[in-house]
Symmetry: C2
Subunit: 255 residues, 2 copies
DNA sequence: TTATTATTGTATCATTATGTTACAATAATA
DNA sequence: TATTATTGTAACATAATGATACAATAATAA
């Protein structure tokens, strides 16, 4: 159960190379110095949430992440990470930035893990080296996700974007940059629908947009705009809401 | 003058590690498997141009590129590459995509270089391994650039975007993705000015926009829009143009 | 059964932005 | 001094967006 053992085990599963050593990620089948960090967004109770991992012994929080196998497409590695943490395939994923400053290198969290785990930490361990990380954001239907822990982090859960715990390294900055990227694309690429269930009301959609853009929108203008794009199919009415007219349910259909 | 020697020399200059070997890029001080490709755009004669390298012995063309030193910021490495190829510092640079498919791996050009260079090519040479490449585009004032060759490629020159020679690996696709990214940002980020000299006429600016967006724009609307942004300072008149009213020169000023 | 309530869908008008045409101003040339 | 081509901008038309208003209608309560 020592940390290095976990990694060795993981390495043996994933690697086809011989001679794995603690100080070489290639020995574990990974491209060295290269990581993936995934900012998985969900929408629940009119709030944006992100999936975060935690290693309970140290209480440290981090983004879901992983490494790229020597013979794996970069985007496939991101897909793999996102799928493993959510239980979903076909996740909408987008590269948004590569974090490559030397200053982001901070091995102390991993040293803490290894010490908390009782294993003497090898200062040459590949996990402690500098990493350049490709940032992806993912948009998922909150209701379909099964948050699933890691080989490193033993818990995985949703956190409200406005109340994130302190995160390791530069992960807080990564989350904010992901949100910026999502905002910038929202109108151009019409990707917001990936955060909603298949059927949704217009006010749910508007509430999503307002939350992402962090500003109030005018209801009639929003509805007119959305319907004018002819990307929405009116499905049925949603009854039993409250003491008022029942809203229609809409479904996203590509033009 | 053999290829591997060039690299060994380069490696010795740039690396602080001991024990350099041909099969390890870390031996040369670089992060292995990670490259940078730079799409440097210029604007000349109402045409978009890109800087391309050539290794004359093989006639192969490629994008300017480079590798990331073990203790260098990723963005600094891109800056270094762009600066070395243009002679300019303070180049507007933007990450636009990471090219990480396994299928892009194609060592044949580098094998050709090594063979053309007369050195027996070592099949384990680090240059022949798979690379994940971070794509940057750069916007420069064509008139200020001094195209400068590489340690690998012995020529560097401008090529009209619509008449690119065949490029190695997936570099043609990288150029087109860069252009897409530039287009998408043009209105939001007002970065077009980086492609013009300090002072320019309105019709030069419009011509630039038309070339990048690949569509005609209406002159009065374009002028009204640009002036309305209040990012342009009217500097002077440009005389001796032709048999017509002299246009004003404008200069970009941040708001 | 009927009034009340809150929310929805959309019409309407106001305002702003953009598309389009037109024309006077003016450097260089003939 | 007339001609030419291009510039700067006015003027109008059209489209997009901002803002207000109101009828329609599910659920609840009287």
């Amino acid at each position: 159960m020592a940390f290095s053992n976990l990694f060795e085990a993981a390495g043996k599963i994933m690697s086809n190379t011989n001679n794995p050593t603690e100080s070489s990620s290639e020995g574990f089948g990974f491209i060295p110095h290269l990581a993936i960090d995934a900012v998985i967004f969900g929408f629940h109770n009119n709030q944006l949430k992100v999936l975060l991992m935690q290693y309970s012994k140290t209480c440290l929080h981090a983004l879901p992440g992983g490494f790229v196998l020597l013979t794996e497409n970069l985007n496939d590695a991101a897909k793999r990470v996102a799928t493993e943490r959510t239980g979903l395939s076909n996740i909408y994923l987008e590269q948004f930035y590569v974090f490559g400053d030397v200053a982001r290198h901070d091995p102390t969290p991993f040293i803490s893990f290894m010490e908390a785990d009782g294993s003497a930490h090898n200062p040459g361990h590949w996990l402690l080296q500098r990493f350049i990380s490709v940032g992806y954001f993912g948009l998922v239907d909150f209701t379909l996700v099964t948050p699933t822990p890691d080989k490193i982090f033993d818990s995985c859960d949703w956190y409200h974007l406005d109340a994130l715990p302190p995160l390791i390294q530069d992960h807080t900055a990564i989350v904010h940059k992901a949100l910026q990227a999502l905002r910038a694309m929202l109108d151009d690429k019409l990707i917001g629908f990936n955060l909603l269930p298949r059927d949704f009301t217009m006010s749910e959609l508007q509430s999503l947009y307002e939350t992402i853009l962090d500003k109030k929108l005018l209801r009639p203008a929003f509805q007119r705009k959305m319907l004018g794009l002819s990307i929405l199919e009116r499905v049925a009415k949603k009854f039993s809401g409250g003491a008022h007219k029942a809203p229609y349910l809409y479904r996203f259909v590509s033009k």
